[in-house]
Symmetry: C2
DNA sequence: CGACTAATTGATTTGCTTCAAATATCGTGG
DNA sequence: CCACGATATTTGAAGCAAATCAATTAGTCG
């Protein structure tokens, strides 16, 4: 495995990461090795221990980020203190970048859910990179476009469908994005709480707990503390699309 | 007023439209007159009588559109037949374009709510224009980015807030975007039904009717058949943000 | 004036939240 | 290794916001 060694963030050792992740990322796929080197040189790699907040809602967007390892969640806090999890970021995905490129405030917090590694750039650096390699701009745009279409669909789904259905959709999305084949189905490959799920589906942890218990009962899922395995994706799809399982 | 006369869509007369709209539109603002001419020449202008469907949910995205006059709504239909109004388009705004540029299916129907005029391009024509004038691409990207950030915020708001609050937010958005000063406040400048509002706020026409009646009572709004006037934007903002009015 | 679309308003039901408390699981330090 | 605190989850009961059901009334247009 190709490994890049960057910086000396800790006294003890530099941060190593698989450069393949970057080569396959949504922003930089298809770039030449030289261009990739430039990209790495222009940014900073840093470790994020679980719980670290990368940026905060309302902060001026002055940095673009791409995750190399781990998971980061994007969480919006409302006036009344309640929260909504807007996205979970996996390796290769960018975050904060659209807001930053548009000189807008970050619309939400970004928090590492497990120990992670990210690479980030200042806005000038990012603009410079795009100038040097316009395809980076095109790819960012495409990624943003995909997200826009996806969000638009989700928006329609979220308002108007019942909770069980929304939870099913949320699980399916998580599964597609962060699913790892497990003995008995597909496991969400990072720790996720009922609370997280509730904040994604727009519900409460109580309702999620009950719903998940019912799904477990029917063999559709197998859930435990901070772990969820989808055992019957078909049934879940059925539930998400028709509202009946 | 500068007027462009294009094509001979009806036997009787060509379609005239104010080219200022295009000059100020999100995709083409800042373009030279010559470039604008190119843009117009590459596209087709057409009239949309109220109720016309411009494109349908699920259709392959093979065209990009920009509204010149009138109003178009973007409506998503769910499996159970219920609908969600995702956006209202006003003059100068583009629609269908992001999906088209990404070779994706349109995620929703586009329907003219009043007699309107649009200009549209095939994908090849659009790509050609962007190649000739890269700033068009940049502007489209910026517009999509703005929409993305906006949607992301709305997503957080829509799930988890109560109906009255969501209706207040919806009214405020409509007011900002389609408000015309009226004797007594700001009037939404196109006919909008309780049903439309319900589909935007993720509710039912019954609840919207009751909520609006209550707001009318308190002097916050003045509503009639397919017409809504906001008389006290402050109160509405208060309601949208705190949930209490 | 009908025929149609839009809006109101009351009564009823229900899905989900909220409130409340118990229980389970994990990590950690003695 | 076990006890203990912190975190996560479950489960029951009660309350309520909003959907649904059911008519009626009000505008609008040909």
């Amino acid at each position: 495995m190709a490994v890049a060694v960057v910086g000396l963030q800790t006294r003890l050792m530099p941060i190593a990461f698989d450069i393949e992740t970057l080569r396959r990322s949504e922003m930089f796929s298809g770039l030449s090795p030289e261009a990739l080197e430039l990209v790495v040189a222009a940014g900073s790699v840093r470790r994020l221990s679980a719980g670290t907040r990368v940026f905060a809602q309302g902060d001026p967007g002055v940095s673009g980020h791409s995750l190399l390892e781990g998971r980061v969640k994007i969480v919006q806090t409302r006036a009344d203190g309640s929260q909504a999890v807007l996205r979970f970021i996996g390796p290769g995905e960018m975050y904060g970048t659209v807001a930053a490129l548009m000189n807008q405030a970050f619309p939400a917090d970004a928090v590492a859910v497990v120990d992670s590694v990210e690479i980030w750039w200042t806005i000038p650096a990012l603009r410079q990179l795009i100038r040097a390699h316009p395809e980076i701009g095109l790819r960012s745009t495409a990624a943003a476009g995909t997200r826009l279409l996806d969000l638009q669909s989700r928006m329609g789904e979220m308002t108007g469908e019942r909770v069980e259905q929304r939870i099913a959709r949320t699980l399916l999305r998580l599964m597609e994005k962060a699913g790892r084949p497990s003995g008995d189905g597909v496991e969400i490959d990072f720790p996720i709480t009922r609370q997280d799920l509730a904040e994604m589906a727009g519900s409460t942890l109580h309702t999620v707990s009950r719903t998940l218990a019912a799904l477990d009962q029917r063999g559709v899922t197998a859930s435990a503390r901070r772990r969820i395995i989808v055992r019957d994706p078909r049934a879940l799809t059925q539930l998400a699309e028709t509202g009946v399982g």
